[in-house]
């Protein structure tokens, strides 16, 4: 007696491998997307760490500048401070290129620049300030503000990973 396959079984025989391949493809896309996102997150973390290092170096240099008496090395220090600020701004701009909807920290950048280079910066009448001087404390605060803002933005744009 001959056995004829049911039409339903034939359909399943055709569709099943296709479903398997679709599932494999979806799985591959999900894994690829997750891996790429993790790699991007790691790169951003590295960039943030580099910025944080620069910001802290800037803070230390600025505090040292304001708490020291006027000296011949001041002109070199102000150049370094301005170059560091430029470099930090450039690094944040790179982060924003990667994440156009994130790292909007312009206000904190301006606050930091004002704290470090405002008032009588680059003036011949520079006076040595005590470590608890308002100007020095303001530099610390603005540095903290910027670092917190960057960290907050990182967590926001990478939420869920």
């Amino acid at each position: 007696m001959s056995h004829c396959p049911q039409p339903q079984n034939e359909l399943l025989a055709i569709v099943a491998p296709t479903i398997t391949w679709v599932l494999v493809l979806i799985g591959w896309i999900v894994v690829h997307w997750t891996t790429a996102r993790r790699a991007r997150r790691q790169e951003e973390l590295g960039m943030l760490a580099a910025i944080e290092k620069r910001v802290i170096a800037l803070r230390d240099l600025a505090v040292s500048y304001y708490t020291s008496p006027a000296s011949d090395s001041d002109s070199g220090t102000v150049v370094r401070l301005k170059l560091e600020l430029k470099s930090i701004v450039g690094s944040v701009r790179l982060l924003r290129k990667r994440q156009p909807n994130g790292y909007e920290v312009e206000g904190d950048i301006i606050g930091l620049r004002q704290a470090v280079t405002g008032g009588m910066f680059e003036s011949g009448s520079k006076v040595r300030r005590p470590p608890d001087d308002e100007k020095v404390q303001n530099i610390w605060s603005r540095v903290d503000d910027l670092l917190q803002a960057l960290q907050g933005e990182f967590e926001r744009v990478n939420r869920g990973f």
Partner: protein, 103 residues
Amino acid sequence: MTATTELSVARDFSRFPAGRYLTDGKHSGERFRAMLLPKLHSGPVRVLLDGTLGYGSSFLEEAFGGLVREGFTVAQLHERLTLASSDASLVTEIWSYIDDLNH
């Protein structure tokens, strides 16, 4: 209509703008303002900020905030002054010095 004058800080003033007052050096904000003022009286000016070593807020405040202290109104400055920089925060900061003097 008067043509816009273009003024590059790096090219026409100094690559090393520094300090607030004339007594702080020959590339201070006060000196730059003295250069900018007659141009602004003549018509619109576009200031190019790129190409320098960097700016201190003291320079920026004196150079641009000082325009209001010299008699320009904030409205006049918004009409005549254009700022261009690859660092948008510089432009925002400068306008804050001008706009804050409105109050």
